[in-house]
């Protein structure tokens, strides 16, 4: 537990320092969401209809760009060797790193969703739905990505391979995330149906991601 907390605090500090990944995801998210209304034109109805989808795609991509450094940065400076000497299993190490990553990318994205929702003309209910679905859905993205990040930790240009590896597995999360956000503002499906599946996806990803990434890190020695 002590090791877990030490690693979590270290990663949060690193993300906050200059050159850290703290704000990167959020800025990228903002960049995508601001560009889309310019490209589509000032059609408010169209924007508010596809708004949840835009926000979800932007969140997925923003999560993805920071992920390749999750274990690679530690691999490069030898910290990963230090982490392997931990008195706790590798799974705990992975869990601490993923949690720190989610707190610095997924959580800010979810909390910032209402502001970005303004840019795509979302209604207040839709904004609330975005916050809730992103809050529940982004952990799935981070955990799935962690497996890819662990597999590509020792590759110099692992980012692209990482994206190819993990994107297919992120699609279900995207589908049910957007479905839940749309269901909240109308439609035939009740909100709970896609939302509960989204929550289940996050829980499954948390288990598989933790054990998968730890196994990948052990094998890639």
């Amino acid at each position: 537990m002590r090791s877990f907390r030490a690693l979590l605090i270290r990663d949060l500090k690193l993300a906050a320092r200059v050159g850290g990944s703290g704000m990167m995801g959020l800025v990228f998210f903002l960049a995508i969401v601001t560009l889309i209304p310019f490209a589509l034109g000032p059609d408010l109805n169209l924007l508010s209809r596809i708004g949840p989808a835009i926000l979800w795609i932007a969140a997925l991509l923003a999560t993805l760009i920071g992920l390749d450094r999750l274990f690679q940065a530690d691999e490069e400076d030898g910290s990963l060797d230090l982490l392997r000497l931990a008195p706790v299993p590798m799974e705990i190490v992975v869990l601490a790193k993923v949690l720190a990553h989610w707190l610095t990318t997924g959580l800010p994205l979810a909390l910032a969703a209402p502001f970005f929702g303004l840019l795509v003309a979302l209604s207040p209910e839709a904004m609330l739905a975005m916050v809730v679905t992103l809050l529940v859905g982004t952990p799935a993205l981070t955990f799935i990505g962690a497996i890819g990040a662990a597999l590509t930790a020792s590759l110099r240009r692992g980012g692209l391979i990482l994206a190819i590896l993990v994107l297919p597995f992120m699609i279900p999360t995207l589908i049910f995330g957007v479905a839940a956000a749309n269901a909240a503002v109308g439609g035939t499906v009740p909100f709970e149906t896609p939302f509960l599946i989204l929550a289940a996806l996050s829980l499954i990803a948390a288990v598989i991601g933790t054990f998968g990434a730890a196994a990948a890190l052990r094998a890639g020695e």
Binding site: R2, R10, D81, L82, A86, P87
Partner: protein, 208 residues
């Protein structure tokens, strides 16, 4: 703790690097690993640290309680495992909390390597020798019986090399074990020495 290594062989890629390596280490022992570049000195340390699987042979750990070998050791390699954006103090207090079984407080450890004045500087601002000394200070903040040092004197000035020798000797007096690869003589008292040659590894006897 005691370490008994028998008939160890190592493969890198398809190539057998060394075979038939055997040694035993008891509390207070030091082992100096020598050999030319690429002979497999670092690979031996990787195997001991559990980062690399041996192709053959056995490593037996005894008198270590319930701890596994990686939990019993410190490993200082070429990559210093320091985060450049964090200060020296933050790096060490992370290692102290993370590795468990804390020993010296962070400031005492920095003082021991003569870098107390750099405690609040980000590691990125420090020179190679200073970074190496902070990595060495990690040995002091958590208590672990086995030290694996991969060319610990590289980038160190003469005074720091003496400081390192003092640290290693004190660790041995306290019942610790030091395994170090080196090209330059370290000056360890009564150290076992092992030479790794391609295909043959020979124990060159006691006393270095």
């Amino acid at each position: 703790m005691r370490l008994d290594v028998q008939n160890l062989a190592c493969d890198r890629g398809e190539r057998r690097i060394f075979t038939g390596l055997s040694f035993a280490l008891a509390p207070g022992d030091a082992l100096v690993v020598r050999g030319r570049n690429g002979a497999g000195k670092s690979s031996l340390l990787d195997i001991l640290a559990g980062r690399l699987r041996p192709a053959y042979g056995a490593i037996r750990l005894s008198e270590a309680g319930e701890r596994s070998l990686p939990e019993c050791l410190h490993s200082i390699g070429h990559r210093d495992a320091l985060k450049a954006a964090l200060t020296a103090e933050e790096n060490l207090s992370f290692a102290r909390d993370f590795l468990g079984d804390p020993a010296l407080p962070v400031h005492a450890a920095l003082d021991a390597v003569g870098l107390l004045h750099a405690a609040h500087l980000p590691v990125a601002y420090l020179s190679a020798g200073q970074r190496r000394r902070i990595a060495l200070a990690r040995l002091l903040v958590a208590r672990r019986p086995l030290w694996l040092l991969d060319e610990p004197t590289s980038a160190l000035d003469t005074a720091s090399q003496d400081m390192l020798l003092g640290l290693m000797e004190r660790h041995r007096t306290d019942g610790g074990i030091v395994v170090a690869t080196t090209h330059a003589p370290l000056g360890l008292k009564d150290a076992k020495e092992i030479r790794i040659e391609r295909e043959v590894a020979s124990l060159a006897g006691e006393g270095a």
